[in-house]
Symmetry: C2
Subunit: 489 residues, 2 copies
């Protein structure tokens, strides 16, 4: 068995097929490496992350063309995405060095407490080997050396990546670079591994040596794997980022103040990267009688290749269903797409809150969106109450807006991990304050983010040492604080 990369622009094979990988040796190596890797200093892990970033940057000229050929995404976008990916590795190097992520807490004894308190020292330790499922839509940033891998390695957890079948050649090349960096950093080979093959990935997920998993992909695939992880005899946390409809709401005042910006911003956002972003705004709520015309802006967007034939087929069949939904009409579309390969053109649909139902809140992965016209605020809030969790929610309003904006933000913050004001949700900064997560089905676990510094918390568990002699404590908890990390004490 092997995995063949396909150029979605032409449907032709790219490079040699990559054989599937027996997971057993990789699992044994990861488990074997854990003791050594978790005991490394923050400095060693920061050096590894920085080395990975440097090597990735240095290999850009060979990796980007491979990514273009296997994903059909434009060279400029992939060049930027590679830079984002190395920046992300460097962010986690700084997170590790700073050390607040360890949540260290030292407490003196208090015999008068109820119950009496001994001397306690608490920090976070890595959970053990982590399995990372790479995504198709960000061949660098959510793939082999993406955010899940970077944040897990930062903790001292060995990582086993399940490569995405849409870019096997690129995955193998990045994995080779990563393994070389691990070796050059003097760390055991089991710190990083890669497995090719869907069945092999499931075998790894069921293995007791794997202690947590991260995933970015479809709701169907993520739910299947979440169920595998949860039904193990020893269930493990599965952090899946699945589907998201990302509602955007425009108030009447915003339509009146910024009609052109709303049209161009929305069309730019839902068609960016051929609409293959988890944060694509899939629903736009507009006041009835808005008078906005989307036709010219949509018609100006060129057709683009989808990541693979399956995604293109699912988009086409999903939009056929959407078109035939009572009360839904197509309001704008782009130029015809080429017949060869897996291309798609932008398509925009429209309905009203009267015809709105939960079937219209399903994500269509690709350059498609649905406008929902509302009559008044009651109407809007009723429709919003039927929408499941999303990664993002967006509001366009004005200063002194007569619309109940505060209530709108409260309702939307219950349903989304990021609430955007007068912007668009595509474009996810990699930083301390970012959250990329949200209630089901946008993730399997709304308590965490998969982007940004705090994504590291997913791979950690608290351990408290009671009455432990100073020299037997981990350095992070010793009286002298040799790592100079922030602590509560």
């Amino acid at each position: 068995m092997s995995i063949q990369g396909i150029d979605p622009r032409t449907g032709s094979p790219v490079g040699a097929p990559v054989p599937v990988t027996p997971p057993e040796p990789l699992l044994a190596a990861a488990a074997g490496a854990f003791g050594v890797f978790k005991a490394t200093t923050p400095g060693v892990r920061a050096e590894l992350l920085t080395l990975l970033a440097d090597r990735l940057d240095a290999a850009a000229s060979s990796l980007v063309p491979l990514a273009v050929a296997e994903s059909g995404l434009p060279e400029a976008r992939l060049t930027g995405e590679l830079a984002r990916t190395s920046a992300q590795l460097r962010l986690f190097a700084s997170v590790v060095t700073e050390g607040a992520y360890l949540e260290a807490i030292l407490e003196d004894a208090d015999p008068s407490a109820t119950p009496p308190r001994p001397v306690l020292a608490r920090w976070l330790e890595p959970v053990g080997p982590v399995l990372v499922y790479a995504a198709s839509n960000f061949p660098f940033a959510f793939s082999v050396l993406g955010g899940d891998t970077a944040s897990a390695l930062a903790t001292g957890a060995p990582v086993l990546v399940k490569a995405h079948g849409s870019h096997p050649g690129l995955s193998a090349a990045v994995a080779a670079l990563a393994s070389a960096a691990v070796a050059d950093a003097g760390l055991p080979a089991g710190v990083f591994g890669i497995v090719f093959g869907d069945d092999e990935g499931v075998t790894a997920l069921k293995d007791p040596r794997v202690k947590a998993a991260g995933f970015t992909g479809s709701t169907t695939g993520g739910r299947f794997l979440f169920d595998v992880a949860s039904s193990r005899s020893d269930p493990i946390p599965f952090f899946g980022e699945l589907g998201s409809i990302n509602p955007a709401v425009v108030t009447p005042a915003a339509v009146a103040a910024r009609p052109d910006e709303i049209v161009s911003g929305f069309v730019g956002s839902f068609t960016l990267g051929a609409g293959q972003f988890c944060t694509k705004p899939g629903l736009l709520f507009l006041p009835a009688g808005h008078g906005l015309s989307f036709g010219p802006a949509v018609a100006a967007v060129a057709p683009a290749p989808m990541l693979n034939a399956r995604i293109a087929d699912q988009l086409a069949s999903g939009l056929t269903d959407l078109s035939s939904h009572p009360g839904v009409a197509e309001v704008a579309s782009g130029p015809d797409a080429p017949a060869e390969g897996s291309w798609a053109s932008p398509r925009l649909f429209i309905t009203s809150t009267d015809a709105f139902d939960p079937s219209l809140t399903e994500e269509h992965f690709g350059p498609a969106a649905l406008i929902v016209e509302y009559q008044d605020e009651n109407d809007l809030f009723a429709a919003l109450s039927t929408i499941e969790g999303s990664l993002t929610a967006t509001v366009h309003g004005e200063p002194g807006d007569p619309f109940p904006v505060a209530r709108l933000l409260s309702v939307l913050s219950d349903r989304a991990g990021r609430v955007v004001w007068n912007g668009w949700p595509t474009g996810v900064a990699v930083s301390w304050a970012m959250s990329h997560g949200g209630p089901w089905p946008s993730t399997t676990n709304s308590a965490h983010t998969s982007v940004g510094a705090t994504a590291i918390r997913r791979w950690l568990r608290p351990v408290t040492f009671q009455s432990m002699p100073d020299d037997l404590l981990p350095p992070a908890l010793q009286a002298a604080n040799p790592w100079k990390i922030p602590r509560r004490e």
Copy 2:
């Protein structure tokens, strides 16, 4: 249908039966109260927690006798446990007021970042209504107003308690007190509710208005409920604290230095509260030839009532299996227990690493434990590698101990949430640095604690506001920092 309290000392009914509760009105009330409760200031929530603590303390003289009658636990223990429970409510009042638990992060825009960063503000919001399953073994501290309830209310999450069937009268009395406090605090009734009945509890767990659940109890019961929570069409986090064997290891040097202390400390710990602590040390690893005699200490421990007849029956049948395991012998036992009611006497067994297998690592809930004699360190580490996750692990060693203590601590910290040095694991302080959690099966989610200040993190999810005007941000994230909380900015 109704739930009848039974005095385990006599087998006789206590008080009137408590009817099972239809969950629908409680679920509707909890969901309805969420918007108001989550928007309260920290001050309002701290006042509610303090009021609950005060009311609990004030009702001690009526509540403690009820708890004694329904649990068979001694009055002094329950008086102390009530004080621990009110102290826990007050701890969370201070956690809320201090505000670091909100993990607030403010970031300026950085157009030069890859990708560009807008102005971001992140904090943690409550997940929504929380379902709390009360435990039998701590009728105050892990029940109606126990740690799960206190930590969830602290966040602004309404709580629905599933009462434990072993103390229905006490549960109803504490719930009445809690509801009155909620009303007196001017909060909606749905902020606190209680449901009686196992089927009713499962109905509530399946309900989409419930967003997370906490549980303390058996591995079988916890696994069943974890599976219910995980197999919902919208899975929710289920924080279960299940079974734990809590291994303790004594080095040869410690045996030589402190033989009497080790015998009396261990026997005191495994028989405390009739061995009905989640943190009871169930396995004691001793060097072969230790020469310790446990007979007199065990014989001096009086029989005690078990919490209910089911627990007493399971202990008896479990110990019958243990006695018949090849290579296991009974080494000490207590005086005969009374025939009426549900009493048990302490029993201590012994085996060696040669005969040790995973069936011997199962928890026997009650005053029973197993000594495992090891020949050398290889022998010991091989045996430890077969033990599943625990809440605690204990090491007794000496200064300059020739035993590989550092390696032992590293191995044990992978398997337990709290590592105790030269003490015993029963007795769980309620404080900032405590961790009460551990790998499966000791919990369903090793990333969190159910005791101590950081237990609050279980009921929270991050939300980031992007480019949001200051007056539309939650107060915690506004420039003026009106709540005066610590923030990363």
